[in-house]
Subunit: 143 residues, 2 copies
């Protein structure tokens, strides 16, 4: 039976720290200090592909990808953004928005499977999620 309510896939939950919610998506920080790396997950059940979303939700997703991309670029002064919806391992629709630099651990390759994840220490993670919350003007879900 398909899920009737949204819940975050356990793998995404394990690999990320929540930044907060935009109107459609939950914004997550990937716990990999190799790259400033956010993930957007539409808070809808049973969605695997972008084309599983209604047209209005596709447009909203695009707007939220743009909002996150702009914030990420402004905060990191990155040289390139990588935006991708893959989902071969985790089928729940999630969109990667990654800030890339010519001196990063995988450049010019895509990031997946290249360098082992380098977890943030608590202070750095807290600082970064706070910066993204302010840049995205979203409230801290922890209240």
């Amino acid at each position: 039976m398909p899920a009737l309510t949204f819940s975050l896939h356990p793998q995404l939950n394990a690999d990320t720290t929540p930044v907060g919610d935009l109107p459609l998506t939950r914004v997550l920080l990937m716990n990999d200090a190799n790259y400033p790396w956010l993930i957007l997950v539409p808070r809808l059940p049973g969605v695997s592909e972008i084309i599983d979303l209604e047209e209005n939700a596709q447009i909203q997703l695009t707007a939220e990808i743009a909002r996150v991309s702009t914030a990420l670029k402004a905060l990191t002064a990155c040289e390139k953004l990588n935006v991708a919806a893959l989902g071969n391992v985790v089928p729940q629709l999630h969109v990667h928005v990654i800030a890339r630099r010519r001196d990063d651990a995988a450049w010019p390759k895509p990031v997946w499977g290249v360098a082992p994840a380098k977890p943030y220490d608590d202070a750095a993670r807290e600082h970064l999620t706070g910066s993204f919350r302010r840049a995205l003007q979203i409230a801290d879900a922890r209240g």
Copy 2:
């Protein structure tokens, strides 16, 4: 001086066969028989990131990604779509839309850099571009 008119990046030109034009993008078939793999390139000069596009063009790009995704899924009965705008090597904005199967050459990894490209023979390439043109209802640019 930034380019004033659109021209396809030489690397994209070398790696692909044109399928045809949608209102915003040129649709290309990647010359790699390992995966049914289309690439959409907005026909605008000087665009590298999705956020370089005006909001209306972002919405149109989303609609064209959905149209190509739907056609690709229908034609290939693929198990997953991979949609990505990376551009670390070729800076001209281009969006990959790739049909993935559990038995393909890279599954479950992303396709980039895994298996050497397997060029189509002429007949297969002609057949496939024709199928995509019909599925997308776009005219053959060669007239």
